[in-house]
Structures are given as C-alpha cells and as structure tokens.
Symmetry: C2
Subunit: 359 residues, 2 copies
Amino acid sequence: MAPFISAKTRPVRLADIAKAAGVSHGTASNVFARPEIVREEVRERVKAAAEAMGYGGPDPKGRLLRAGKVNAIGVATAEPLSYFFDDPFARVMMASISQACDATGAGISLVSAANNEQLAWNIQSALVDGFIVFCVDGGSRLVELARERKLPFVALDLDSDDDDAVAAIGVDNIAGAGLAARHLTELGHRRFAVLALPVADSGFGPTTREQMEKALYSGTRDRLRGYFAELSRVDIDVERVPIYETVNDEESVWAGLDHIFAGAETPTAILAMSDRMALHALDWLRQRGITVPGDVSIVGFDGVPEGAVSSPPLTTIVQPIAEMGRLAVKAILENDGSFSRQSLPVQLVVRASSGPSPA
Amino acid sequence: MAPFISAKTRPVRLADIAKAAGVSHGTASNVFARPEIVREEVRERVKAAAEAMGYGGPDPKGRLLRAGKVNAIGVATAEPLSYFFDDPFARVMMASISQACDATGAGISLVSAANNEQLAWNIQSALVDGFIVFCVDGGSRLVELARERKLPFVALDLDSDDDDAVAAIGVDNIAGAGLAARHLTELGHRRFAVLALPVADSGFGPTTREQMEKALYSGTRDRLRGYFAELSRVDIDVERVPIYETVNDEESVWAGLDHIFAGAETPTAILAMSDRMALHALDWLRQRGITVPGDVSIVGFDGVPEGAVSSPPLTTIVQPIAEMGRLAVKAILENDGSFSRQSLPVQLVVRASSGPSPA
DNA sequence: CACTTTCGTTGGATCGGTTCAAATTTTGAC
DNA sequence: GTCAAAATTTGAACCGATCCAACGAAAGTG
C-alpha cells in the first residue's frame, strides 16, 4: 500500500519515525541495525511507524559517513564506460574482478568519463574504498589521480619504469613479447610487422621505434622491446620492421594492414600487441584472400576467449587474467598499507594462426 | 613527495587543514569547492597546508550527505556480478546503458550478490540515485527490494502481469515470439521444440505449459504464450510440443537437446527464447552433424551481435537493446515521479539459421 | 568624514545516520 | 521486600563535508 512516490515530499528520516513511534532515534536506529537488542513490542511499534510513513530503511548516505567503508571498489579507466563491456580483454578482466568481489560481497563502481576534466572529477568524487586502475591509454594520469585520493589502489599492468611507490599487478610484457617473437623466428620467419597499441593520444598511423620508447603506457613500450630484443638476437634488422600504431579497433588495424601490405616487401609474420587487434587482422587477411598461417602467421597477446574460437584459432601470449583480477581485488580489500608489485607469468599458447614461414 | 600511505594514521579532514592554515572550515571548504571566491593569498595558504598534511581533497562521503545526489545509477541483478560481463544480452544492454551514463557524466554501480540475503543488503545499502533492475530470474523479488528503497527505478523487461505501479521498459514478448513462430510455420515447419528460459529456481529439465504459466519471470511466460498462440493458429497441437527449461547456459541447453532429440519424433524447428541458447544449440547440432537450416531451423530471441557472425548466422527477434538502455537511464535521471511503462517494438531478422522444412 | 557597497570570512546549522557511556527499567535471587 | 545483575533505552557526540545568514573590513560615493 505504499503511496505513489512523489518527487516533492521531503523524504522521511529515521528521526521522523522515532518521533512517531515515541522512542529515541538511538533506539530507532537499533531496530534496523541490531533488531535483537530491542524489546519486541518496541521493535514492532517502530516498524509499524516506518511502514506507515513510507520509510525506506536507513539511508546508506547517512550510514556511510559513520561507517567509513563503502564496501565497493572502483574500477577506473580513461576509456569511455562502454569499454568495460566492449573490449574482450577488459571483459575477461572484469569478469574475474567481479567474481572476486562477489565472493567478498563487495560492489563494483565503474568510473570513467567522456572527457579529461570529468575524469578527474569522477575519480575525486567516486564513492569507493579503493581503485583498480586500468592502465591502458592515459594510464599515468589515471594513476596520479587515483593516488591523490589517498585510497588503496592497484594499477593493472605493470609500468616497468614507473615510480615504485605504486602497487601494481601485471605481467612481464618483455618476456611475453619475446616468447611470441621467438615462436615465429623458430618457424623460420624473417619478415615481420608489428601492430602496436596506442602510443600517444594522437590517433593512429605508422610509427617508429623511437616514438614507441616514449609511449605513455609502458606495456606498449615493453612489448615492443620484447619483440625487438628477440628479433635482434637472430640478426633481424629491427629498424626495417614496420610498426603501426593503432587505437585497438577495427578501423585502425585495417588501416595499418593496408599500410603494411602496401610496401614492396610484405611480412610473413605479424606481431599484434593485443588479441583484439590480431582478430581484426584475421578478418582483414581473410577478406584479401591471404591465408593464415599459409601466407602469413600472426601471434596475438592477452589470451581472450574469442581467440580460441576464431578461424583460425589464434596463437597468442596468454595472461593469467583471472588471477590478476583476483589479486587486484584482494590487494584493495586486504590493503595493509604496503605496496606490492607483482609480476605474473605469461604463457605462449600455440594454436592455428602461426605456422612455418612460406619462404 | 606524498608520504607513504599508512593504514593506521587517522585521515586528515578538512577541519584539520583549516586549523593548520588558520582559517575557518567554511573558508577551507570554499578553497576546494569555489576557489574563485577566496582571496588568492588565503587560497594558497590553505592549499599549501593541504599539501603538507597529505590531504586528498574533500572526502566525497561527507559531501554526499549534504549534496544528496550520488551521481551514479545502480544496475541490479539477482545473477552473480559476472553476469554483466558474460551474458551477451546483458553486455549489449550494459554497453548502451554506459553510453547513456557517459553522456550525462553519471557513474554506474553494479549491484548483485552471491546469495539472496546479501542481495537484499546490497540493494539496501547501494549508494545510487536510482536502480535499473535486470528482470531475469528472480525479477519480482528484485523489484520489491528496489521499490523499498523509495528511489526511482526501472525494470528492464516488462512484466505484463505485474503491478502497474512499477516503471518498466520492455518489448512485446508475445508479439515477438509470435513473429518467430510464424516465420517458421510459413516455412512449412510443423514439428517444434522450445528451449525455455528459467521458470523457477529449480534448475533445468523438461517442463510443461502449465509450469510455464507459473514462471517467475513474465518474459519467459509471454514468449511461450506468443509461440503457442501462433502455433495453435495453424492447428499445431501445442500440447505435444516439448518444452525444455534451461538456465541459459551451455550445459542445460545441451541437456535439453539431448532430451528433445532422444524422442521418436524429432523437431525440424527450434524456438529458443534467447540468442545465447540458440547459439549453444547451434554448437550442439553441428557436433551431431545435424545441419542448420537443412535438417533443423532455429530462431533465437534478443538480437545480440554474436548472432550475426555465428555459423550459420542466426535468425532472431531483435530487441532494440540500445534504445532500451538509453530510455532506462533517462527514466532514472530525469525521474519526475511519474511511472511509465514503455513497450518497444521488436523485429524479425531473417538470417541463415532458418529455412524450409525438410519434410 | 559619514554612509553605502562590495568583498571575503566566519561559525552555526544541516545532511541522516551509528555508537556508546550513562540512565533507567526489568528481572532474579535471597 | 530489597538489592544486585541484566536488559533496555536514552541523548549526546561524531562521521566530513556544504551552505548561508551575519559580520567585519576595505573600497566607493557625496
């Protein structure tokens, strides 16, 4: 029999029903928070008053201030909010983060913003007990903002060059990239191309090794270092390996391949810094009638589930995404003030997108 | 030069830095909230004090109480949190909800819980300005809980039988299901089977029309009504159409098909109440060497993107998911206290999973 | 120089609860 | 019936900010 909710009426507060029931607000509070310590008769009276006045239970806004704990962790990214549901890597990561949160009863707040200014505000005003920061593009700014809140936070993906004072969980990108490159060189490939993750905010296009060293996000930088260290080891001239910076979407990957395959000496092996790019590349190659792995081999990075069911299934470097999510949540919730930087192992999973060099 | 965050030290408050800077707390507050009205010299002094004491800016917990608005909407489901990232329908819906939120600068809180008791608590204590309720399994309980909060809320997916006092956005499930069934009867199919969404909390297994009428979730009920109304219209004996209740996952769908195809009279047409089920069914059929649409036709429901790229691509009833998400967010944010029930049109999209009956 | 504006600052009230020591009532024991 | 122990209830303090009426000082006006 609740009356229609009116946007106008001042909401009823605990104090209102306390007065109506003729008890102190302390007792009224107990009725909701610890009903067992209130005498039954009083309890019923207060509950009846609450019901009669359309009281929706103690407002968490009030409780929060006293309790201090929100019981929710914030997940922040500089991408638009829909990134969490669109990007394969983010999705798998979020699924594992949410499992960990579910297990502990914590909620999840998604924090993001269309523009930079709003991002700052959203992080500053997020009601959370800590942040998990997705360090994709724009990572360092995010980390800075999160740190300013003086809340526990963990950066996802290690920034090898960054300040040691930030807790981070990531993988050894250099080693992983090395694994990918070595796999291909062992198959006899000598002509490579690299599809790179975003380096700057500047869009996409061909880039160079020097530019890459300035990448905002160290994962990008480290993966390139890993690739090139391995290629150099077998005397491939890395200065001649084309690198195309994408924004990790179909358009930019396709543009990259257009560019890479327009050259005289087309590659037989493509190193993609994400599975998402690799999967888009697979589509592009199929449309051009270029066979994989007959004409071109490709190795991704991340280990998203889509890679296992693509055609052909994707050879890739799998990150222990589930483990990373679990550890991140644990780091926030059991935060003891200590910083930790954990580097998890990656694994080369060979599927059908890589094969012997046609040469 | 921020010192190490210690979990022990009592966090500094605005009042602390006000004292340190020798100003009133009112002025200190202004330094952060409306810096332009504070004299520069004072402003700098306060900021310096804040910096020196490691103050992380005004705590949103405090601000919240005064401001009243959280600037975040809660999305609630009775499923585990990972549902938002695993389920194709949920993902598309969330992507559109997040776009709408991004546009207005609102955040998103994911609310869910492993068990029922915790669900209640999580909804009661969620810091949000309103709820969007995913009315899949357990919808009515969720709606009840959300309503008790006396916050604006919208149920996603219309419950045709439910109380009119709840705002809801959904599609005409009966009409949509009718479209699916008619498409198949027009192709000459006479032997049908139905893969149903969850009816009760009781797991999966074969079920009956009577059971379905008691479905917790009206979408399930209405889709069956739509199917059967259409089948009856062309004189198919719906009492003989097998219905298998699944929990919308691979295991239960496969078990359902095992059961359905174990019978003497196997169907030539399958009506799946979700694309997710239809896609799992496609896998099962492929593994058995049953061709689609040669031997069996199948029509899904929802219109998730995966359906467009499956093999074969899925004929389905597409819901205007993006539009629903946008409207839901709008209903929460522009809540004027009025209830509205909106029913959006669905569309039959014919792709390659349906063809003429082999008979 | 007295008088009004304007600008900046102050401190109390408020947001909506929880908590706890102290006060009060009830119960139990003798 | 008395008194200590146990069970309830009370009311003040607190959580961390924002808001606003009132006030003091500096600037402008006649």
